[in-house]
């Protein structure tokens, strides 16, 4: 495939990157050959995205160098990287929804005729790139009217039109259906045969098994190892990702689920008012909530928590016999949520660990409306100890804590009120491996004490590793329910992409 004497197309040598004292990347090196699909994998926070942003000129490394075609290159800007043929396809697409496919492809580089945009030429020339990515729409189509999968292809066509030799794709399939994903893979394979190289970032290990020529694994900002084509198997990748055996990573102590403590019947959320959701949760049960981005998982959780009241339907939890209308009602019934975006909705960044931890229990501990400082100090000290929050003092401002410790603060705020039903939305997003393991252990301990846990996660590993039962959502409703024995990546993905349309119970 590659000639040993010629230099690789791209070489990344000893890249390190620090953000305000946090080592995001530590001496990472990799090479990319012509016409190679190189998958870069690692957990959230492993440094993949940072590395890709450096290669694409979005951010600058603290140290290390990038070599393109054997000559050292510096990318002080995205424009410089583009000139060298390196294009980044963002996780969130960067398209102008209100413009046509052709206009998007030539955005910022419009050919002119008598000082005005030469529309004919744009349409004609863009057709070449539209064909190249197998997009079956006319160039004049407005991008906003296309489904997300096709928008992605427009983004790739746009990159190709700048003569990109290296495409960086950051989680390109995160919001695609199975069919759209297969289509994208065909396009990537086509590009490979034309000699275009692809740096492919994904969490979905089966995609990598299917597509990648080679895999580089990052862990905690460091190079953890790589696998050639023949060794690309889930088990091998996961071992490099977590640095230990997966089965030990997701430790569960087996226990019998208790009584039903939450029953939802025909619940309708404001986001999907025409879909109903029904389920039961038992004490001591950990239930995973799986689904693609936009499937309605977060909306379901915020509805159960009273943030966005339900349109109608019933919910019975403890003393509550209807869906909560306010967060306070939910909390009074023992329903508590650690939200997906914890910096936005879970934390008060300029406030101390203590004030964050005690906020929810101030009302319980009040003395006729006055703060009870003794109780506040006790709650804070107990939760710092229980959650093992790493901080010099609980007067430390939470902004300066790591993602893992911040999440523990969010959880601690609720645990001191002893929840009956704990809702977790992406509980380990952006968290280092050590904290992840602690949060998994904590979930297990809480379940053992009889707390029902409903957690949404986009990481299938996590869903599979932790859940006693999985509810899979697709377009606002629950498309299936899987018992522990039936939970596999395939069964979850099939339900998540709407593969099985009616609700069915699979497994034992």
């Amino acid at each position: 495939m590659t000639n040993d004497s010629s230099p690789p197309l791209l070489e990344v040598r000893g890249i390190s990157k620090q953000f305000s004292g946090v080592q995001a990347l530590d001496n990472v090196s990799l090479t990319l050959s012509r016409g190679e699909v190189l998958a870069v994998v690692g957990e959230n926070g492993a440094g993949k995205s940072t590395l890709m942003r450096i290669v694409a000129g979005v951010t600058q490394p603290t140290s290390g160098s990038i070599i393109v075609d054997g000559t050292p290159a510096e990318f002080p800007s995205v424009a410089q990287a583009l000139k060298q043929g390196i294009a980044l396809i963002h996780q969130e697409l960067n398209l102008a929804d209100n413009l046509s496919v052709a206009a998007n492809i030539f955005l910022g580089r419009e050919p002119l005729r008598f000082g005005t945009i030469d529309q004919r030429r744009i349409d004609q020339e863009s057709q070449t790139f539209i064909d190249m990515v197998g997009l079956d729409v006319p160039p004049q189509t407005i991008v906003g009217t296309l489904p997300i999968g096709k928008q992605q292809l427009v983004e790739i066509a746009k990159a190709l039109s700048t003569n990109a030799r290296i495409l960086i794709m950051d989680e390109p399939t995160s919001s695609l259906s199975e069919r759209e994903t297969q289509k994208l893979f065909d396009v990537v394979r086509g590009l490979r045969s034309r000699g275009v190289s692809v740096l492919y970032i994904s969490h979905r290990l089966h995609e990598i098994e299917e597509l990648a020529d080679r895999v580089v694994v990052l862990r905690d900002g460091k190079y953890s190892g790589e696998l050639p084509r023949d060794d690309i198997q889930r088990a091998n990748i996961v071992r490099l990702m977590v640095g230990r055996d997966v089965s030990r990573f997701y430790q569960r102590t087996p226990h019998e689920p208790g009584d039903i403590i939450a029953t939802a019947n025909d619940l309708r959320t404001t986001k999907f008012p025409h879909r109903t959701v029904s389920f039961e949760l038992r004490a001591g049960e950990i239930v995973g909530l799986a689904g693609l981005v936009g499937a309605g998982r977060s909306e379901l959780l915020t509805t159960l928590f009273g943030v966005t009241p339900a349109v109608n339907g019933t919910l019975a939890v403890g003393t509550l016999h209807r869906p909560p209308r306010t967060v306070r009602e939910a909390v009074a019934a023992g329903i508590m949520l650690a939200p997906e975006d914890r910096r936005r909705a879970g934390l008060f960044l300029p406030m101390s660990v203590k004030r964050n931890l005690s906020l929810a229990s101030l009302r319980r501990d009040q003395r006729h409306g006055f703060l009870n400082h003794a109780a506040e100090n006790r709650v804070s000290a107990e939760m710092v100890a229980l959650m093992r929050i790493k901080t010099a003092t609980d007067r430390q401002v939470v902004r300066y804590l790591s993602g893992g410790n911040q999440q523990k603060v969010v959880l601690g705020k609720w645990l001191c009120l002893e929840p009956k039903l704990l809702l977790l939305d992406e509980p380990t997003r952006g968290i280092d491996v050590g904290s992840k393991e602690e949060i998994y252990k904590l979930m297990d301990q809480l379940a053992a004490r009889g707390v029902a846990i409903l957690f949404a996660s986009s990481e299938l590993e996590e869903i599979i590793g932790l859940s006693d039962r999985v509810l899979v959502m697709h377009e606002g409703r629950i498309t299936g329910e899987l018992d522990r024995a039936a939970i596999t990546e395939e069964s979850v993905m099939q339900l998540a992409t709407g593969g099985a349309d009616r609700r069915e119970r699979i497994g034992a």
Binding site: L347, F348, L359, R363, Q366, R395, V397, R399
Partner: protein
């Protein structure tokens, strides 16, 4: 990160440490500014230190201070109230109007104007929370509405108490002989006592009650406050009610003090004095931050600055606004630079601790 425990603590201050917290530094900074202006004026013109002048300064500070404490509550939520001056006008005009023109009994008139202030605060709060209108827009409309009503109601005629209502006016005009009743010693204006009571209650509310904590939390991050079970709407409405009520009390005291109110200019720009005092005193317009002590000192700075212009630069009296604006601007620039300097030093200290040189 496991190195968290080794990082220098960036801590929120409590107890004795509060003086050295960012907030504490701000209060000392504004206090220093006040002392500096006082010293300069005292040296430049000996009349500054006369008891009559000082009594007057304390009295004016008390009146502005009452409005500023109210403004601070709204600013802490991340909002703004531009209608303070117009509400001062409406209440200031209504009180003599009801008492003199319509011969209402005193208690009824007082309850009416105070009730009106509370109702206006509730209306602002409801429009901002339930209708989700922007505080700036709602209170800007209030600014226009209340002055317009005051002028229309009275046919734009000045409203006053004439020679009556001496005992009622004494609330705002009397001076308490705390150092003995002989002339020539310092008498404490009664308004100062009112400000002290209001400020102490406000400070206790803000720092010692769960609702004060909720107010700071929601100003800091309204979304997270909602997700923590705090009734964000009710707490926000409460802040606007406090602001309008204090504006109403301020309006009553102003008109009792000067005896007559001209609807077209009574209370003009007072909302801006109040907001400026709150900002000088350490409130961030982003919300979530503020101290009552700082706000009262901020009000004093505004008042003394005006006095300085009168006593030391009488030739520039017409430039009063420009001078006050300039001083405030310099104050916030210095504050911002100091904050950046402290942050940069902290950041450097963190870097050094995490990566020991060599």
């Amino acid at each position: 990160m496991t190195s968290d425990a080794k990082q220098p603590a960036v801590v929120e201050a409590t107890g004795a440490r509060r003086a050295f917290s960012p907030q504490g530094v701000k209060i000392w900074g504004i206090f220093g500014l006040l002392v500096a202006i006082c010293l300069f004026t005292a040296i430049s013109n000996h009349r500054f230190l006369r008891f009559g002048n000082i009594e007057n300064l304390v009295h004016r500070t008390a009146l502005i201070g009452i409005l500023s404490v109210g403004a601070a509550f709204v600013i802490i939520t991340g909002g703004i109230d531009l209608s303070i001056g117009s509400l001062v006008c409406l209440v200031g005009v209504l009180l003599p109007y009801l008492l003199v023109e319509h011969s209402w009994p005193v208690p009824l008139a007082l309850v009416a104007v105070l009730g009106l202030s509370v109702a206006i605060g509730i209306a602002h709060g409801l429009l901002i929370t339930k209708m989700r209108l922007q505080p700036f827009v709602v209170t800007l409309c209030g600014l226009l509405l209340y002055r317009g009503i005051a002028r229309g109601l009275t046919g734009d005629q000045s409203q006053g108490f004439g020679v009556g209502f001496k005992s009622l006016r004494a609330i705002a005009t009397s001076k308490l002989p705390i150092f003995g009743s002989q002339p020539g010693v310092f008498h404490l204006p009664a308004t100062a006592l009112i400000l002290i009571v209001i400020a102490v209650v406000a400070a206790i509310f803000l720092n010692k009650t769960i609702y004060g904590r909720y107010l700071l939390a929601l100003g800091n991050n309204p979304e997270a406050a909602k997700y923590s079970g705090i009734n964000v709407d009710r707490t926000t409405i409460m802040a606007y009610v406090v602001c309008s009520t204090l504006a109403g009390i301020g309006g009553m005291l102003y008109v009792l003090d000067v005896n007559a109110a001209q609807p077209s200019d009574f209370g003009n720009f007072y909302e801006l004095y109040a907001i400026a005092a709150a900002v000088l005193g350490g409130c961030s317009l982003r919300g979530g931050e503020g101290s009552i002590t700082g706000v009262v000192i901020g009000a004093a700075v505004m008042v003394v600055l005006k006095n300085t212009i009168n006593l030391v630069f009488p030739q520039y009296e017409n430039m009063e606004f420009a001078i006050i604006g300039g001083v405030i601007l310099i104050g916030v620039i210095v504050d911002e630079l100091a904050r950046r300097f402290v942050t940069a030093r902290r950041e450097a200290a963190r870097q050094n601790k995490t990566n020991p040189p060599g």
